[in-house]
């Protein structure tokens, strides 16, 4: 009963030069920030080992720097230091224990860096400042080019000594090789600049030097960028030509692909859920059409079926699935035995993986609280199981329940709504955010597997909880919208068909002092999304949260034909969208949908028809004439039940998790739940 009938290509082996992979699923290179003092750590080894154990066909490590001039971020592995070999060994031994091949990605980031950490000038083909780092690099002289090439060969030999099965040269999105390949950053007039053949010279010198050093026992791959998506950069035709040159040189065993430039169009490399799956497959398809080497396609592969399709259409020979395997290390083995539904699908939310990279933190995952902690021992099983009652089936409550049940406790969740999900259901109900809902879907499935009972439609009070005679209670009741003092009262109960209801004389809606002017109609984001408020006409959205709440509701209302403006006290609307790489695509969509974005504005009050906004850098007050104001403002914890229970039975083991402890975001809710459950 193998699934080979259903996913035949995904689970067929393939030769990459001297290395045979058992399936086509690649854990492609990605930064983890697990390095300590420039060296690979035990955390690395455990992290890669978990994916090898989970059935990945090939693992490619994060980049290792080939030269001291390359240190763009703190926790980069310094491959050029001989001490790395010991750490390499630890990684490769751990992965080889599962018969999985592992390659090392080696790189020099070139001008896409600053001298912050290295305190050396950065090196690049030409003195063109990178848009992110804004530092003018030193133009390389030929002898320095030789030094770089030698650096690659040196690091390759370290990798060989460290037990790697192959080497991948990152020439794609943040690399000195990319810098040479791209006319946007290579203004040279010597034999390394000008024609494509000249621009590719460095690449071919490196492949030659590395191959010479490693011989033919190790595989060698090149990762190329198919479209830099920058002004004057390379596009697909150049990538195809370079791939042909690489194939012709005959030293390389496979070609990996990528899109975008890390310091300018990163949001296209690690695409969030707003970017459709398969968006970058035109690159491997064009390259594979031109060469015979195996080609890796990467970008938003979420489930194995989709991966199989890409293989069947011949877009690529292997699929890179990075975040899919961060979220579920057992992605490949579950697919292999046909348990496709048991896979915890990545949400492409970028909150804990990519998001934490930008903040110089180690990599995690919103759905997988164990990501990054693989080296710690598993939670102990409980010898004397307890009866646990969880109130609230949002992400926090469900995670607490899952972890408890997996440890052996018997768990019941009480949920007021007629279905689980909490605020995530609202968050996922807006255009392009549906994948966030997979968080809930995955949790519901995990509840079912671990034997958690979810009772919906139960508005839990003290009685309902105590009737179940719990040994421990976890309150995960989430948060509630909070009306700020400056705002008009909520106007709820409208239906979607209706236009703004007439102001009835008996509708007592008051301003600041309780009998002041009647203001515009007002609702919280939650009210709009659950349908209890239906704004129409001119809508002002106030963004004080800086995440998806305001932007989502703005898009939804714009789609429904409202004239929407978002105002925020911050310097940009949706401040934190940058971290999850949602900012650029939001701006594109906002522009297309005619949404106005206004910044540095603090809402301070209203009158009959307007909202008052203070431009804080200048002190100017603006008045916006609107029909509705929709609030994305900090909520308050829903903590009544917690305090009632505390009062009623002070001895009861009682915990609070998620928004009801402190309203934050879903990843915090999941981590809270997991942490508390580990201790019960």
């Amino acid at each position: 009963m193998t699934t080979n009938g259903r996913l035949p290509l995904l689970f067929s082996p393939l030769e990459l030069g001297p290395v045979t992979v058992r399936n086509r699923i690649v854990f492609a290179a990605h930064l983890t920030n697990y390095a300590t003092n420039g060296l690979p750590s035990a955390q690395h080894a455990a992290y890669y080992q978990a994916r090898a154990a989970g059935g990945a066909g090939l693992i490619i490590t994060e980049e290792h720097s080939v030269h001291p001039t390359d240190w763009p971020y703190e926790k980069l592995i310094h491959g050029f230091r001989p001490e790395v070999v010991e750490g390499y060994r630890r990684i490769t031994d751990a992965v080889h224990g599962h018969n999985t091949p592992i390659f090392a990605q080696i790189n020099h980031n070139g001008g896409q860096a600053s001298g912050m950490y290295s305190r050396l000038p950065v090196w690049a083909p030409s003195p063109v400042a990178d848009p992110l780092f804004r530092e003018v690099p030193k133009e390389l002289e030929e002898r320095e080019i030789k030094e770089i090439v030698e650096g690659y060969a040196l690091v390759a030999s370290h990798c060989m000594e460290g037990g790697f099965d192959g080497i991948e040269l990152q020439c794609s999105h943040s690399s000195i090789v990319r810098g040479f390949l791209s006319p946007a950053t290579n203004l040279r007039t010597d034999r390394y600049g000008g024609s494509l053949a000249n621009r590719a010279r460095l690449l071919l010198e490196i492949t030659a030097a590395v191959r010479k050093r490693i011989g033919f026992r190790l595989a060698l791959g090149v990762r190329l960028c198919g479209d830099e998506l920058i002004e004057g950069g390379t596009t697909i035709d150049d990538a195809v030509e370079v791939a042909k040159m690489v194939q012709e040189q005959g030293l390389v065993d496979y070609v990996n692909t990528s899109i975008g430039v890390a310091t300018a169009s990163l949001f296209m490399i690690e695409a969030s859920m707003h970017i459709p799956p398969g968006y970058s497959l035109f690159i491997p398809s064009a390259i594979r059409n031109a060469i015979d080497l195996p080609v890796v396609g990467v970008g938003r592969f979420k489930d194995p079926v989709q991966a199989e399709r890409a293989l069947q259409h011949g877009y690529c020979d292997l699929v890179g699935a990075v975040r899919a395997q961060i979220a579920d290390p057992d992605f490949a083995s579950k697919a292999r035995v046909g348990l496709v539904d048991d896979i915890r699908l990545c949400l492409s939310c970028n909150q804990e993986c990519v998001g934490r990279m930008g903040l110089n933190r180690w990599l995690g995952c919103i759905e997988n609280p164990r990501a990054g902690k693989e080296e710690l021992p598993a939670y102990p099983k409980e010898i004397s199981p307890k009866n646990i009652v969880v109130v609230g089936a949002g992400p926090a409550g469900m995670q607490a329940a899952i972890t408890s049940a997996e440890r052996g406790h018997s768990v019941v969740i009480l949920e007021r709504d007629d279905r689980p999900g909490g605020q995530i259901r609202l968050a996922a109900s807006v255009p392009s955010r549906a994948e966030l809902g997979d968080l809930i879907r995955n949790q519901i499935a995990a509840c079912a597997r671990s034997g958690v009972e979810i009772r919906c439609g139960v508005n839990a009070g003290v009685e309902e909880v105590m009737d179940l005679r719990p040994d421990a209670v976890i309150i995960a009741t989430g948060s509630l919208p909070n009306l700020p003092p400056w705002a008009p009262p909520y106007q709820l109960g409208g239906s979607k068909e209706e236009t703004a209801p007439e102001f009835g004389s008996n509708s007592p809606r008051a301003g600041l002092d309780g009998n002041g002017p009647i203001g515009p109609l007002c609702a919280d984001v939650c009210h709009v999304l659950d349908g209890t408020a239906v704004p129409t006409g001119r809508v002002l959205v106030i963004d004080e949260l800086g995440f998806h709440q305001a932007t989502s509701v703005a898009e939804l209302l714009a789609d429904r034909g409202c004239a929407v403006e978002i105002a925020t006290p911050a310097m940009v609307v949706g401040q934190d969208l940058g971290i999850t790489l949602d900012m650029e695509s939001w701006n594109i969509r906002a522009a297309a949908k005619g949404i106005t974005q206004s910044t540095d504005l603090v809402a301070i009050g209203f009158d009959a028809t307007t909202v008052h906004l203070l431009h804080h850098p200048t002190g100017t007050i603006y008045r916006r004439e609107v029909d509705w104001v929709v609030l994305a403002v900090p909520p308050i914890p829903e903590e009544t039940l917690y305090y009632s229970l505390r009062q009623r039975s002070p001895k009861l083991e009682l915990h609070r998790v998620g928004d009801c402890l402190a309203p934050r975001r879903a990843h915090a809710a999941v981590i809270d739940g997991d942490r508390i459950a580990a201790r019960l």
């Binding site: 979420k302 989709q306 399709r309 996922a428 109900s429 549906a434 994948e435 979607k496 999304l529």
Partner: protein, 302 residues
């Protein structure tokens, strides 16, 4: 190289354009209403022969003289292409390379064992081949070109024995391949029962639509598995998609293509399917289905 495209009443067979691309833009179009069919092809040269309804034995022998100078003749491995190709190969005394996925004068790759194996040959003499539809795809960049040069030719048919085509039955939405359906009426868990799905089937007939379903529905056995739309089911390309009681999970949406219009009926106004819809009706799906049945004169069995 030449593509040989048998057409019926101006309709191209599956994989016709792929054959023309594979043959480098030269095509013979043979059958009924060939000029209508040629208009739908992107090619450099097209020869047409108006010879009436499909007739494999007669066409093969009539074509012998016309195409014998072509070293490579490519037909689509569509029902008609598969019928005609061996007859043509036989009269030309050439080998047939059937189910090819790549055709070059000196290199042909064919499939065998379903799609498990490929068989590579290096032809040394002229041959006839059929190209598996969907194996090449059409070159998306080569699509826009200048119109083809069309030559009309006449062919005299002999009297080789062929069956008589009594009738060509149009596609029946109820039984046609879902992937080809233009209108789809799809059932989700919110429809609630096998009975409702049965009624849905008859309402679909009245609307001229095909029936689709989510996996929840097919898993429950309310509709057969081949009705499942989505990443693990069929990919469809309808112009109108009506979703009754479907939440709109990505795995489902991933298979519905890009319909010009979407209607969703659901009690939950905030589910993704409703967000995608042009018309989102917040209503009870089984009752609405009955109301539709009444309006369309479809009988409701209690």
């Amino acid at each position: 190289m030449l593509a040989l495209i048998p057409v019926r009443k101006g309709a191209l067979p599956a994989g016709a354009q792929e054959c023309v691309d594979e043959a480098g833009g030269r095509a013979w179009v043979i059958g009924e209403e060939t000029s209508l069919a040629s208009d739908q092809l992107t090619a450099e040269y097209i020869w047409t022969a108006e010879v009436g309804p499909f007739s494999p034995a007669r066409w093969a022998s009539a074509l012998t003289r016309a195409v014998h100078q072509e070293d490579v003749i490519i037909l689509p491995a569509s029902p008609d292409g598969r019928d005609l190709a061996p007859r043509l190969a036989h009269v030309l005394g050439r080998p047939l390379l059937a189910r090819a996925i790549l055709i070059r004068p000196d290199r042909v790759i064919t499939l065998s064992m379903g799609t498990k194996l490929m068989y590579e040959v290096s032809p040394s003499a002229p041959f006839v081949a059929t190209l598996e539809p969907g194996s090449r795809g059409t070159d998306p960049r080569a699509r826009a070109g200048k119109p083809a040069l069309v030559h009309e030719l006449t062919l005299d048919l002999g009297d080789e024995p062929d069956p008589k085509v009594s009738e060509v039955l149009p596609p029946d939405p109820a039984s046609m391949d879902l992937s080809e359906a233009q209108r789809i009426l799809a059932a989700g868990a919110g429809l609630g029962s096998a009975e409702a799905c049965e009624l849905l089937g008859r309402v679909a007939v009245a609307l001229g639509a095909s029936v689709g379903a989510t996996r929840v529905v097919t898993d429950a056995g309310w509709l057969p598995h081949y009705r499942q739309i989505g990443t693990t089911g069929v990919s469809v390309h309808p112009s109108i998609y009506i979703a009754l009681g479907i939440s709109g999970a990505v795995q489902h949406i991933g298979g519905i293509g890009e319909p010009a219009h979407i209607v969703a009926v659901n009690v939950d106004p905030s589910c993704p399917m409703m967000a995608m819809a042009d018309l989102a009706i917040v209503s009870d799906a089984p009752s609405l289905l009955r109301a539709l049945a009444t309006r369309l004169g479809v009988e409701i069995h209690e």
